[in-house]
Symmetry: C2
Subunit: 154 residues, 2 copies
DNA sequence: TATAGGATTGACGTAAACGTAAAAGGTGCG
DNA sequence: CGCACCTTTTACGTTTACGTCAATCCTATA
């Protein structure tokens, strides 16, 4: 049972049915495509966030996995933990309206948004304090650098 | 050689020379005064950031230690690691102009400021993306909640 | 066939700043 | 005297998301 190759841009050595709509990519290509490492993909799988098919022991990712990975990366980008992402994804049911999933996502998002805003406030605060301190330090340096005598400027 | 107690507000059971300008406080009071835990104070000491005196095995903090702690907390607030803080503090020399210390502090501060600004940009980005996603999810919920029939409102 | 690429499963390492027992000692008070 | 309260040192645990080997395997190609 051999498998698959990406339609066009394939530096692959595997055989593939270039006909089927299903595109299977192996971990290397998947990683490049989304700018993550192999380790990351395996880690996500280990955490139950991805479930690629297998050809023997070789992982094969489909567009379904790609969609999931996109969601994971979006979640990470907005600051969700992988746990949160998993919780939300686990509620996905292709046969239903996913109302519960959407509500959970919205609920978590509101909380996350609040956290982000709080963080931004903290950072702004930090920037302010740091700028102040820098002014002080600059002034101290000027005083220490200036001629120790109280003479007029050159 | 017994010791010390805070001038006024002392629930301390120790004797103290209420006369000297030196105020010695023990770890508990120090912690309360600056809103940190005992563990934190010991940790900072272990990392070489603090050096309280001792009465036997009991730590005694003076205003010098308080000043240092203030600096540490300010550093933490603006996002410096304890390592950075230590590096800067280690350059302090009470007998000199501390030009090197000030320059190092300024240098580190500039880098830290850049980091903070980058972080703020990331957070703003995240807030934007998250807000977008939330709009989408809200819309999906509305569609799923609306009457499945194309009838008029009740 | 030798070689260069991928791929696999472990499994320990990392970073930062403490948290959290655990076991024990000193002290004044009622 | 016993209890409550403060302090000490030692040392493993926590959190998150992977990084970094290590040892193997498979395979197409020159």
């Amino acid at each position: 049972m051999k498998l698959v190759s990406p339609g066009e841009a394939a530096a692959n050595t595997n055989d593939i049915p270039a006909e089927a709509g299903e595109e299977f990519v192996r971990i290397g290509e998947m990683a490049k495509k989304y700018g993550v490492t192999l380790r990351t993909l395996r880690f996500y799988e280990d955490k139950g966030l991805l479930n690629p098919h297998r050809d023997g022991s070789t992982r094969l990712y489909t567009r379904r996995d790609k969609a999931r990975l996109k969601l994971i990366l979006l979640g990470r980008k907005v600051g969700f933990s992988l746990r949160d992402v998993k919780q939300m994804m686990d509620l996905y049911d292709p046969t239903g309206t996913n109302t519960k999933q959407l509500r959970l996502a919205l609920d978590k998002s509101e909380k996350q948004l609040a956290r982000l805003q709080k963080q931004r406030a903290l950072i702004d605060d930090a920037i302010g304090e740091l700028s102040n301190s820098m002014s002080v330090v600059r002034q101290m340096l000027i005083e220490r650098t200036a001629a120790p005598q109280a003479s007029a400027a050159g």
